[in-house]
Amino acid sequence: MTDDWDQPDPVATRREAEALIVDVDGYEGPLDLLLTLSRSQKVDLRRISVLDLAEQYLGFIERARALRIELAADYLVMAAWLAFLKSRLLLPPDPSEDGPTGAELAAHLAWQLERLQAMREAAARLMGRDQKGRDFFARGAPEAVAVTRKTLFDASLIDLMRAYARLRTRDEFRPYAFDRSDIYPYEAALARLSALLPGMSDWTSLQMWLPEGWRGAPQRQRSAIASTFAATLELAKQGQIELRQSGTFAPLQLRPKSGS
């Protein structure tokens, strides 16, 4: 079939796609791309047709999409905005709608492009100036006649800012330590329970064994119950006490094991 021969050369297609990727990478954002596209109009930026420019940009984005090139979000945001601008420019203004007119928005965009262009030219002119150490020179052998020796300590702003940043960064990485004032340690519960055990004889509720000052505030009480419960398990394991519970969620009771 000769049809196959009409298909575009896959290699050429791929090359074209790659060229576009390179191009998109080569632009510093949507504004830079717009400025580059605007050059094809070959007019003063003040007389540029923003409508044409919007068409070109949208066309560029379409091509990129057709080639399945991943575009950064800001390129798509600009495309959406230009599509909106295009509709404003094409449709007769709706008197009931407030907000800026298409012409105002277009003028602003043209001005932004002109400003970016102007800054690029200013940057080029700046770098084209005579520069110290390249076109003109400072004294090659600055004289510092030694007699009085004075040590001057120096630091630059960047040193200062880095020092502060370093301090604050270290703070962020300070190991997490929680507030221990409301925590009743397991070791304390075990020691307390062991000490009180000889004075007990019959079944008593676990609640009774909570230390003074740990029965009020719920947070403190929770911690004390947990620690004391853990301590009773340890003592039961050691064979010093017996534990019982009449049903699920019923109060836990304990007593010393006879013979211990």
């Binding site: 510093e28 001005w111 800054m119 003109f136 400072a138 004294r139």
Partner: protein, 216 residues
């Protein structure tokens, strides 16, 4: 001083003759690689000297020579004449290559100062990448200006005397094309039509800052 013969503070010794004052300043400026301010020069001269006048004499003496007296911001320095740069090939110092983004950022700071990071990004249409500002600060070509009195009180950036010295500028007012850019309205900060308030406030502030820096 209107009258040289009755100095405000009586001194034990008369001030050296003007030609001698000129010699002293010549020696001082030759010895220093960095610019010296009028105050720094005066502080090193004997009492009763008129450093400003002596500097004027020195400047005309060196006009057209291989070494010239230049003004850098508030300071003065001796520098080789720019047309002789080719002779000093061996003395050239390779400065770190600046990226295009860094060069543009530098130009925007110079022409729009004091300028916030957000404004730089607005003008370039892209985020200022990590390290760009850092690099310019490290080269001591830019420094922090006053915080902007807008919500968030963002920091601003301005160019330094080191920047002026490097590019042979007497002051930020002498930036090439500054007047034309201003007249063309390209240094204004115009909010996007339909965007309200805090941008306008920004604009006012920006203009105050500009006039402070650029007007005499």
């Amino acid at each position: 001083m209107p009258d040289d013969h009755s100095p405000a503070a009586p001194s034990l010794f008369p001030a050296p003759p003007m030609a001698e004052q000129e010699r002293m300043i010549e020696a001082l400026l030759f010895a220093c690689a960095e610019p010296l301010t009028l105050a720094q020069i005066s502080a090193r001269l004997p009492e009763g000297c008129d450093a400003a006048e002596a500097l004027g004499h020195l400047r005309s003496r060196y006009a057209g020579r291989g070494v010239v007296l230049t003004r850098v911001g508030d300071g003065y320095a001796m520098r080789t004449a720019p047309d002789l740069g080719w002779l000093m090939q061996a003395e050239r110092v390779e400065t770190r290559k600046l990226s295009r983004a860094a060069i543009e950022t530098l130009a925007i700071i110079a022409y729009h100062q004091p300028v916030t990071r957000a404004e730089i990004e607005e003008i370039r249409g892209v985020a200022v990448s990590r390290g760009t500002i850092d690099q310019l600060l490290e080269m001591e070509w830019i420094r922090l200006g006053r915080r902007r009195m807008t919500p968030g009180r963002p920091v601003t950036f301005v160019v330094t005397e080191g920047f002026l010295d490097h590019f042979g500028l007497e002051s930020a007012r002498d930036l090439p094309g500054l007047k034309e850019l201003r007249e063309a309205g390209l240094l204004d900060s115009r909010p996007m039509p339909g965007r309200p308030s805090d941008d306008l406030q920004d604009e006012d502030d920006g203009q105050i800052g500009q006039s402070e820096l650029f007007e005499d």
